[in-house]
């Protein structure tokens, strides 16, 4: 019991140090721009299909599920607005972030974990290349930038999915649908929802990097790093989301 408590504090201390190092080094040259762009491609572009498909299904399913309830109150015309609102404020950011935790956090955890175990990170260090700069900072920056973009993409595709869902039962003109969607959206819906996605992205990258970078020796620790990255990142996303809702209530 005492030991596990000590481990938790140790871990918390290490994560804090790891994160502090990011802020200390991110602005200091040399900048690894090429690797950053490559990571943006790997993390952002390669996740588009997965995020697109889930976004579309979310919009579709949400519409189909909400229609009966709204129909009961004779408020079917609210359907596009309601779906868009719940998609953009809550569902698309959280589901996309969770998918990224599963795909990106674990991928980074496994990649850096295996580099650590096979001494590739040590090899960089002894050739006087800062592995933290090259591997960690580029990846955290890439996820911080790409996850919000993926969320915006999921928002868009999700709204289209909603359109498909509505057209299963009735015939609505696309232009009409979009004007209803835009009518219901406010600045206040979009800004806080977008801000929190940057935090999602930051922690998805940070946790994956931390778990991989600090993996113990031995091949089994690669799997452990990937696995614990997904668990920790998913949990963190929910915590951030909860905090974001509270803060939005206070400030907006």
């Amino acid at each position: 019991m005492v030991i596990s408590l000590k481990n938790i504090f140790n871990d918390a201390g290490n994560v804090t140090q790891f994160t502090a190092r990011f802020f200390k080094e991110v602005l200091k040259p040399p900048y690894e721009i090429k690797e950053f762009i490559r990571q943006c491609y790997v993390i952002g572009y390669r996740s588009l299909p997965l995020v697109g498909i889930t976004g579309f299904i979310m919009g579709l399913v949400l519409t189909l599920q909400s229609r009966p309830t709204l129909a009961e109150f004779g408020a079917e015309s609210w359907l596009p607005g309601m779906v868009a609102l719940s998609l953009i404020r809550e569902i698309a950011p959280v589901i996309t972030a969770l998918i990224c935790a599963g795909k990106i956090s674990s991928g980074i955890g496994a990649e850096l974990g295996s580099m650590k175990v096979t001494e590739q990170i040590d090899a960089m260090e002894v050739s006087a290349i800062d592995p933290y700069k090259y591997l960690v900072i580029t990846r955290i920056l890439a996820t911080t930038l790409m996850v919000p973009l993926l969320v915006v993409f999921a928002d868009g595709v999700g709204v289209l999915g909603g359109y498909a869902g509505i057209n299963i039962n009735s015939d609505v003109n696309l232009l009409n649908y979009f004007s209803k969607v835009l009518e219901s959206l406010d600045f206040i819906d979009i800004i806080p929802a977008t801000i929190k996605t940057f935090f999602f992205g930051f922690f998805i990258g940070m946790i994956g990097c931390y778990k991989g970078y600090t993996a113990a020796s031995g091949t089994e620790s690669v799997g452990k790093a990937a696995n614990s990255a997904v668990v920790a990142a998913s949990l963190t996303i929910f915590v951030i989301d909860m905090l974001a809702v509270q803060l939005t209530d206070i400030f907006f």
């Binding site: 590739q120 040590d122 090899a123 260090e125 050739s127 006087a128 290349i129």
Partner: protein, 259 residues
């Protein structure tokens, strides 16, 4: 030509008496119950190949990792080119690291890069003024040195164990190090390949005038490459001498390495 463009300090005169590495009273423990090094003293003279023997887990790898600052020493002095590296900040340490090559036990090639990119990676960062042509020449020369020019576009996963070691060596050589640290360069290789690697180590010493620490269990490699041998036991240097001297040692334990 390439040497000049690499961003490293001019070659300073080595420590007095031509000593390039001088380890004094090195202590290192991992946790409370794992005292690995308990006062290791090692010197490496300029141009010398020093072989380190010792059982698995006796702390050989930890010792050379201390020399490049990969592992932080608990106590003791590690002078490289006359500078105590335990007192340096990151920037100063990196200036020394560029002058030291380190061959990892499993070569530690970057899996996501081709052989060419593996070699270009350190080169690009430490010699920014190279033209693409000079860079290509330097890569080809380093690969030629290890006899693997044809592997330039392969991925590490496509290489055999012996080839990986040699590419790792080429990646080390590309920065023209004055010191090379070899961690079990022949472990896991067949006898013929082991011999080729050992001969390569010897050839590099002759050609580049490097000083080396070679950790090995392979007595054929030790016999071929060693100018001097030290044996690590229970955290200290237990014996020291030439191959021939140690082979005839009075100490049964020392002799047991040579059977």
């Amino acid at each position: 030509m390439i040497e000049q463009s690499i961003n490293k300090e001019p070659i300073i005169a080595t420590d007095n008496n031509g000593i390039v590495i001088d380890i004094r009273g090195l202590y290192k423990s991992f946790g409370a119950h794992n005292d690995v090094l308990k006062g290791v003293n090692i010197t490496v003279n300029k141009g010398e190949n020093l072989v380190v023997l010792g059982k698995s887990g006796s702390g050989k790898s930890v010792t050379i990792k201390c020399v490049v600052g990969l592992v932080a020493a608990d106590k003791g002095e590690i002078k490289v080119f006359g500078t105590d590296i335990t007192e340096l900040d990151d920037k100063q340490l990196n200036a020394i690291r560029i002058r030291i090559g380190f061959l990892f036990q499993n070569a530690a090639l970057y899996d996501s890069m081709t052989v060419r990119q593996n070699l270009a990676f350190p080169l690009k960062r430490h010699s920014k003024s190279l033209s693409p042509k000079q860079e290509e020449d330097a890569i080809k020369e380093a690969l030629d040195n290890v006899g693997l020019a044809e592997a330039i576009d392969k991925m590490p996963a496509e290489l055999s164990g012996g080839m990986r070691k040699r590419i790792g060596l080429a990646r080390t050589l590309i920065l023209k190090p004055e010191i090379i640290l070899y961690d079990e360069p022949t472990t896991g290789l067949d006898t013929i390949t082991s011999r080729e690697i050992s001969e390569l180590i010897l050839a590099i010493q002759k050609k580049n005038k490097t000083s080396s620490i070679i950790i090995t269990h392979d007595m054929a490699c030790a016999k071929l490459t060693a100018d001097r041998i030290v044996i690590l036991k229970d955290g200290i240097i237990e014996a020291e001498g030439s191959y021939e001297e140690l082979e005839k040692s009075d100490n049964d334990w020392v002799r047991s390495f040579f059977i």
